[in-house]
Symmetry: C3
Subunit: 644 residues, 3 copies
C-alpha cells in the first residue's frame, strides 16, 4: 500500500479537499499528519486551537484516507522553550542547542517529560477514537541531528540517577569503571561528571555507560508516549519513524514499545553519509547503492518484529546532503517496489507537495513547489499505484535462511574505543550484508538474544559485549555461526574479560585473543588457506586452543578457525577475504546461492521473487522466471516480479 506525508497547516484550507482527492486518485491509502504542528495547536500555553486540525482530519477521512497522527514533540514551540530553557540539549563541547529548527530538547529533562506527556495526552484524548485515525507515530526521528546524546547539567543529573539505579553503591561503580586509574575515584554518585571536556580522553567505561543511559532514556520516553496513546486510542497501532545509519540508541528497545516499526528512506542522501569510497559515491550518486535501502528494510523488519513501513520515501532530489542529485528516472518506483519486496506494509512518500518556504524548500514532493502539478516522483508513485492494483494483495514475507546479528551496543563500544580510527561498526555490518546479498541470499536481522535456532547461517559481524542471553542464543544455533573481529572482547562494565577475548564465546570458538594490531591504510596481513585475501584495519593474535585452523596469516597465526558449527574470523577482512569466508560459511551451511552482478539484487516475498537493476547495463532473469511485472531482460532502473 502507498501513503504520503501531508501538512495541512502549510496550505490554505481551501486546497485540502482537492489534495485528498488527488491522493486517492493515484492509489494512496494512508496519510501521515501533525507531527510538527505544536505551535498551531497550542500557540501559547494552555490555549488550544485544534479546530483547524479537526477539519483537516475530517476532510482527509471523508476522502477515504486512513490517517496516521504524529505527536508533535519533535518541535517544542518558542513559548515553551522560553518558559523552560532546561529542556534544551547541549553539544558535547558544552554549548546549548537553541530554538529555531527541531529536536531542541534533551531526553534527560524532567520538565520535558512532563510537557511531553501533557501535549500527547491532549492530542490523544481529542483524536484517539476518531474513525479516520488508524495509527500513531510517536515524535519524529529520534536521534536525528545527533540528538541522542546531550551534554548539559540536566544530562549529568539524570546520568547520576541512572548510575545509582544500576550500580547501587559508588564502590561498585568505582570498581566497575576502574577509577583507581588516574585517581578518578568518586566519593558519591553526585560526584559523577560528564565524560567530556576532559584534558585527554575520559574513561571509556563511563562514556559507554553514558551512551547506554541515553539509549535507555529514549526507550523509556517513547514508552511514556505509547502508554498515553494506548489509554486514549484503543485499537490503533503505534509506530515511530526511525532513521538510516543511526545507531546511537538501541532501536530494538524502542521497537518493543511499538506495534510496528517504520523508517525514513532517503537512499541517495545516505550515499554521501556512509563511508563509501569516492568512486562508489560517484557511481551510485543518482540511484543509491543497491544495499542501502534493503539493509534498513531488513533491519526495521526485525525492529518491528516482522512489521514495518517506510514512513518517508524519497520522491526526488532532497535538500540536506552535500550534493542532492535528481534520481535517475524510475528510481522512485524501484525504491517503492524494493521496500514492498522486503515486506513493507506501506510505503509513504515524503512529501505530498514541495514546500516553497523554510528549511526544506529544496526537498521534492509528489507535487511541484506550492503547486498541484505532479512531479516526476508523483508520476512514478502513480505508476506503482496502478501496478499494485493490478497485482492485488502481496503475500507475507516469511523467514530468511540467513541471520545477521546486529548489536547497537557494539557501535557505542567501538566509538568510545576505536583503537584503529577506521574501525567503523556500521561499515562492517553493511559490508557483510552486501556480500551475502551479492550471493543472492535474503537476510534477516536478529537482535542479540533473539532466537537463532532455525537459521541455516548466522553471521555476527561483531558483538563486543556478549551477555548471557546472547551467548545462550548463539550457543543454541543449529546452523553455521560465523563471528567477526572484536567479538566478546569486553564485559558488561567495558572491562577486558578475565579470560581475554572472546570471553564467554571461548567455549564456542575454541580461541583466545592475546593481542590486537590496528593497521593504517596501506598495511595489511595476507591470509591463505581455505580462503585467501588479507586482514586490514584490525588484526587479532589468536591462540587456537581447541579448534581447526582454516586459514592463516603470513606468519602462520590463525586467521579463520572452526570448532564444530562455529567459525571465527580474526580480522577485518578485505573484499576477497570477506567474500571467500562467507562463501565457505554458506557452503558449510548447505545453502544455495545465486550470485548476481554488483548492480542487481534479488528478494523473495512469499512466493514472489523480485529483481532490481541499479546499474547501467541489462541483466537477464533466470530462465525459469515468467514475469508478472517487467520483462525477462531487466534493463537499468527496472523491476521484475515473478512467481517462483
Amino acid at each position: 500500500m502507498l501513503g504520503v506525508c501531508y501538512y495541512p497547516e502549510h496550505w490554505d484550507e481551501s486546497r485540502w479537499a482537492k489534495d485528498a482527492r488527488r491522493m486517492r486518485e493515484i492509489g494512496i491509502s494512508h496519510v501521515r499528519i501533525g507531527e510538527f504542528a505544536w505551535s498551531r495547536i497550542e500557540p501559547c500555553r494552555d490555549h488550544f486551537t485544534f479546530e483547524w486540525l479537526d477539519r483537516a482530519i475530517d476532510v482527509l477521512h471523508a476522502a477515504g484516507l486512513k490517517i496516521v497522527l504524529g505527536t508533535p514533540t519533535a518541535t517544542p514551540p518558542k513559548w515553551l522553550v522560553d518558559e523552560y530553557p532546561d529542556i534544551l540539549p547541549f553539544e558535547e563541547n558544552g554549548q546549548v542547542r537553541g530554538f529555531g529548527s527541531r529536536r531542541h530538547y534533551t531526553f534527560s529533562s524532567r520538565t520535558w517529560w512532563r510537557e511531553s506527556a501533557r501535549i500527547v495526552e491532549k492530542v490523544a484524548a481529542r483524536y484517539g477514537t476518531h474513525p479516520g485515525i488508524v495509527g500513531w507515530q510517536t515524535d519524529n526521528e529520534y536521534g536525528c541531528h545527533d540528538t541522542t546524546l546531550s551534554w548539559g547539567e540536566e544530562d549529568r543529573k539524570a546520568f547520576a540517577s541512572w548510575l545509582r539505579r544500576h550500580y547501587q553503591s559508588v564502590d561498585q561503580l568505582n570498581e566497575a569503571w576502574g577509577t583507581v586509574f588516574w585517581s578518578m575515584e568518586l566519593a558519591s554518585f553526585e560526584d559523577v561528571a560528564l565524560p567530556a571536556r576532559t584534558v585527554t580522553e575520559p574513561n571509556p567505561a563511563t562514556r559507554h555507560d553514558f551512551w547506554r543511559f541515553h539509549s535507555d532514556q529514549i526507550a523509556d520516553y517513547d514508552r511514556m508516549q505509547c502508554e498515553i496513546i494506548r489509554k486514549h486510542s484503543p485499537g490503533r497501532w503505534i509506530t515511530h519513524n526511525f532513521m538510516g545509519f543511526v545507531s546511537d540508541f538501541d532501536h530494538f528497545k524502542v521497537g518493543d514499545n511499538l506495534d510496528l516499526a517504520s523508517w525514513d528512506s532517503y537512499p541517495i542522501g545516505f550515499v554521501e553519509k556512509f563511508p563509501f569510497s569516492e568512486a562508489e559515491r560517484t557511481r551510485w550518486a543518482e540511484t543509491s547503492h543497491p544495499d542501502i535501502a534493503a539493509y534498513h528494510h531488513d533491519l526495521y523488519r526485525a525492529v518491528g518484529r516482522g512489521r514495518f513501513w517506510v514512513m518517508e520515501q524519497q520522491p526526488g532530489p532532497v535538500n540536506w546532503a552535500p550534493w542532492n542529485p535528481v534520481p535517475k528516472p524510475g528510481m522512485v518506483r524501484l525504491w517503492t517496489w524494493e521496500a514492498l519486496a522486503h515486506g513493507a506494509e506501506v510505503v509513504s512518500y515524503f512529501r505530498w507537495r514541495q514546500a516553497d518556504f523554510a528549511q526544506e524548500q529544496m526537498h521534492a514532493g509528489l507535487n511541484l513547489a506550492g503547486s498541484d502539478e505532479w512531479s516526476v516522483g508523483g508520476r512514478e508513485a502513480a505508476q506503482v499505484g496502478r501496478e499494485l492494483a493490478m497485482l492485488g494483495t502481496l503475500p507475507d514475507s516469511g523467514r530468511a535462511q540467513v541471520a545477521l546479528v546486529f548489536d547497537y551496543a557494539s557501535y557505542w563500544s567501538t566509538m568510545v574505543q576505536p583503537q584503529g580510527k577506521d574501525f567503523r561498526f556500521e561499515e562492517l555490518c553493511f559490508r557483510w550484508y552486501e556480500a551475502l546479498r551479492r550471493l543472492g541470499l535474503d537476510v534477516d536481522f536478529v537482535r542479540p538474544g533473539g532466537d537463532l535456532a532455525d537459521y541455516r547461517l548466522v553471521v555476527v559481524p561483531t558483538m563486543v559485549h556478549v551477555d548471557e542471553a546472547a551467548r545462550a542464543a548463539l550457543a543454541g544455533a543449529e546452523g553455521v555461526v560465523l563471528f567477526g573481529p572484536r567479538s566478546g572482547s569486553r564485559d558488561r562494565s567495558f572491562r577486558i574479560p578475565q579470560e581475554l577475548a572472546p570471553g564467554p564465546l571461548q567455549p564456542l570458538t575454541g580461541t583466545r585473543v592475546t593481542q590486537v594490531s590496528t593497521l593504517r591504510p596501506g598495511l595489511s596481513d595476507a591470509v591463505s588457506g581455505e580462503v585467501s585475501g588479507a586482514g586490514i584495519r584490525w588484526r587479532e593474535y589468536v591462540d587456537a586452543r581447541d579448534c581447526a585452523v582454516l586459514a592463516r596469516f603470513a606468519n602462520g597465526d590463525p586467521a579463520l578457525t572452526r570448532r564444530g558449527n562455529v567459525m571465527a574470523l580474526a580480522c577485518w577482512p578485505d573484499e576477497d577475504l570477506l567474500t571467500g569466508t562467507l562463501r565457505l560459511a554458506v557452503e558449510a551451511a548447505g545453502l544455495d546461492t545465486l550470485p548476481v552482478p554488483d548492480f542487481i539484487r534479488l528478494r523473495r516475498r512469499g512466493d514472489l521473487l523480485f529483481a532490481f537493476n541499479y546499474g547501467t547495463q541489462p541483466w537477464d532473469l533466470p530462465e525459469s522466471a515468467n514475469p508478472l511485472l517487467g520483462t525477462r531482460r531487466l534493463t537499468p532502473q527496472q523491476v521484475a516480479i515473478w512467481r517462483g
Copy 2:
C-alpha cells in the same frame, strides 16, 4: 598618480621630514595616514593628544604631499573596550571576539555608534579644513576578518528592530519566513532568535534577512561617518578602502555614501584565498592570476560610480596568507600599471616602510624593515613614477561594451542555501569574467537595477532574487542578455516564486525550472548543440515554454535557450561550455574579440591600449601596435602601452 600608506606614529618624529622628501622623490603625490591611531590621539577618555598628528600633517603637507586622513574606528582602544564591552562582536558559535587585534566591534551596538560619532567628529573638526587634507577614508576594510556578521545579544536586538521596520507585524514576518514549518512561529518581534546554534540548520529566510540586516547596518554606519565628515570638511572627497573577494555586505550601498571607491589590492594572497585548483595556485603563486586584480578594479570602478583608487597596493611579500612568496621581479610595477589601465586615479602602496614589530612585521614596504633603504617594491614604484611623468596625464576610461551584473545578495542566498556544496557565487562570477577577458574584451560591472541600455552584451552569472528595478533594467537591455543558473529562483522573502524559477524573468527567458540536480565532483551532464561541453555542480530541469533551444543535455532537456535577445544557461558550465556559450553570446552581440593566451591580458583606457604578461613566455603585440612604453615583444612580467 601614486600614493603610499604611512604611519607617522610608528617612527620617531625626527624621521618624518626625510620620509616625506623621499616619497616625493619617487613620484608619490598622496599619503594616507591615521586610520589606526586612536590610542595615540585619545590615550584615555576625553584626553586628546592631537599635537603629534598636527605636526605630522604639517610636515607631510610642507613636502607637497596630499593627505588622505582615515577615521580610526577600526581599532577602538583598550580603555573603550573595557568601559563598554557591549561593543564587542561575537562569533557564530557564541564566543566573544576580544581586544588585541582590530575590528573588534559590532555594527549592531548603539554604544559603538555613539563612540564612533564622537571620535569622527573630533578628528573631522580638527583637520577638516587643513589645506593638506584632500580626502578622507572611513574606517578600514569593512568586513575584514569576517566582521560583517556578528552573533551576540546586541546583534539579536538590532536584528529584531530591523525586522520590525521591514515587516511591521509579526504575522507578516511569520508568513514571509514560513515559520509554520517546524512550529517556528513567533509571537512578537522580541521572540526573534539569532539564526545560529540551532540543532539543525535554521530557516534560510531568517539567515538571509540576518545577512541583509548586517549589510544595511554597514551602509548606515558608513553614512553616519560621512555625514559628520562632510559637515566639517567641505570640498574634500570621501572614500572607503574595500577588500577583495568580500561579498558579505552590499558594497554598492556603501559606495552610494562615497565620492569614490578604493580597494586594497593584494593579488598574491588572493591566490590562496580563492578556490583555485592546486595546479593554478602553484602556477600563479608568484604573479597572481591575471584576472584577480582586474576583476576588482572593474568591480570597484562600478562601486565608485566611475571613480576608484587602489588604496593599498601589495609592494612585495605579505604576511597573512598560508604562504607568502616574493613576487616575481616586475610584478609590483605590472600591478600598478594594470590598476591605472583599468582607470585607477591613484595607486597607493601599503606601506611606506616595513614595520619591524607587531602583527605585520613580515609585510613588505617600499623600504626595508625599519630602514631608509629601498626594497625591490620601492624601486619598482620609483620606476612607475618616472614612467608616469614621461607619459603625462592618462585619458579617461570610457565605457566597456560588455556588462557583468553583480549581485551581492546572491552571495548570501547561495551561502544560506548552497544545495550543492561547491556552488560558490564568487567563483561563478570570476570564471565568467575570466572567460570574457580571455576573448580580449573589457568588462564593466553593473549593480542590479543599474542602467544596461547601451551595452552590447549583458551577462548575469546569477541573480537569485530579481527585484522590480533589476527586472526592468534587464528587460530594457537592448544588447544580448545571458543568464546563468539559479536566476530568479527566490522571491524577496527567500521563498520559491509561485510560478517557479526564473520567477519574474519567465517572460524574458520563456523557460520554467521544475527541479534542480546538484552534482558531486565526477558527475556531469553532457551538453551538445550550438555549443558543447557539460554541466557540472548545478543542473536545472527546464520547460522550454516559449523559446528556442540552442543546446540540450544528453537526455534531450534544454541546456541553453534563447528568446529574442535573451539567452539562458541551465547549469554551471564546465570550461568548454562556458567558453562556447560566451563566444556564442559575443557573436550574437556582434562584438569583435581578440583572444589572448591565458597569461596575457589587454585593457583599453581612452585611446590607450595596455597589455600585460603574467606568464613565462613572450607574446607579440598586434602588428598595428606602436608602443609608447615597452616593446612589441612583450616578455614575461612586462607591460606595453600603445595608442589605438
Copy 3:
C-alpha cells in the same frame, strides 16, 4: 639496566610479591610507582591512607627492587577539583578542561602550587629515607595533552605578573611589543589580555612572551617540587619523565632542576604524530622510523647533562595513536638496546601488566591483560635481561664530534609566526639529524649557550633569537658551524633586528637577509654550485656582504655561503640540498663518515659499536666487526654489538 612501571593500587595486594619476584627473574632492577595514586593516598582532604603504599614499597624492596617514587600531582582528585576549581586549565578557545582524565591543572594557579607543595611534602616526608627508594620522579609528562599553555583568567593574571617582573614599566612593554600598531597600547599591566580569541591574530610578540611565561612556570613549578623532595630525601636523585616531540616548554630549564633526565619512548605512536609522508608512515608503521627514538635519546642525554633513562619504554601495541599496530617481532628488544647504545642508564618498560580497565586498557604490558602470563614484549625484555647479564657493565658514552644546537624558543617563534604554513621547527631539526645519522655520525644535542668549543661540526638548524650567551658560544666554536634558515631573525622582544637577520650573527656569517619568500608545495628554487638541489618552503634573499658564495639560486642569489668556519644556508633544503650541504660541512670539518642504508643505524658507546636494522633486508657489518652480540649479517629487526 632494566626497569618497569608498576601500579600496586591496580592489583590485589595478594599479587604483589609474585609480581616482584617475576620482575627480578627477568633482570628488572628498578620499579617506578605512585605517580597517579593521589586518590588512594588522600581519598578526601587531610585523610591520608598511606598504609597500602607502605606495604607495597616494603614488598618491592624486599624483593631487591630499587624504587622510583612519583609525586602524584598529574592527577588531582575529584574532591580537590571541586574544592578549588581555579586549578583547572583552559583551552585556547576559553573552554575549561575538566576532571575525568589527567593533567587537569594550570601551572598559573597559586592554589595549585600550594596544594602541590602540600602533597609532595607529605609523600616526600613519609618515604624520603626509605631504603628502597633510590630516586624520585616529579609529576608525570609535563606538557602532555597540550597542557603547557592554559588560557584562563588565572593564566592572564599570572602572565601579567610575569610581564611586570620582566618589563618593569608598561611603557617598556608597549615599546617592546610595538603596541602602537593597531592602537593596542596598554595603560597598565592589569590591561594585559590573553593573546587569544581576538578578531584576527594577536601580536606575535605577546604570544611569544605568553609561551615563554608558561615555559618558565613549568621550570619553577618543577623546582618547587624538587626542593621539597631534596629536603626530605637526601642522597636520592630526582628526574622527570619527558615526552617525545613536545617543545612547548624549555626542557633544558627543567633539566637544570634534575639529577638526570628521563623520557617516555613510544616509537610507533610517534610515526603518526610527526609530519612524515603517508608513504613513510606506512613503511615505518611496525618498527618506527630509525631516528625517532635515537633523536630523543640524544636530546634527553643533553637535558640530563649526560645522564638519562627511558622511563617508559613501549612494550607492544599502545592505545593512543590513530592506529596502534603490533611492533614487528624483535622491536621491543631492538629499542631497548638502542636506548642503551645512546647512553640510557635504565630502560624501564611501561607497564608491568596490561590493565583490563579504564583509558589504557588497550596498552600492552610485559604481561597480558590482568594476567601473570608474559606478553611478546615481556619475553623480549627477558631476553635483553639475559644479554645484559652476559655483557656486563656498559662503558660510558663519551662525547660525539657533531653538535646539533637545539633551541626550544625557536619552536615558539615559528609557531607564533609561521609565515609559511609548513615551516615546522621539529621537522627541520629532525631531518638535519636524520641526514647526519645516515652518514654514520653520532650527534650530541647542545642547548643555546652550551659549550661548543670541542666539536668538529656544529649544526644549527635554526635559532630565531640569538642571545648573547648563544652568540658567544657560537663565535667560540672552533669547528665548522652551519646555520639554517631564519637564524638571528628576531630580537629578544620578537622584533626584527635593526640590522636585519641574522642580527647578531652578521659578523659571523657575513650575510644580511633583505626579504623572505615562503613557497607552497610545488614551488622550489633550484640551487647549484658546490652543492645542488633546491630550496623549498622558506627562501631568504641574502646580501653576501663579507663571505664566499658556495652555491646560488637560479637567479644568482646566494644560497650557501661561507665565512671562515661559518657556513649559512639561505633556505629550507630539499633532501638533495640537505644531504649535500651536510656532506660539504662534514668534509670541511674533516670528519670520517660511514654512510648507511636508510634502514640501518650505528651508534658508539665507549668502545662498543652498535648496529640496528629497522628494515626488511639484511646488512653486513663492516669487515672489521667481530660481534659480541648478534651476527655479521645483520638481519631485519636485529642488533649487533662489537668492539671497535
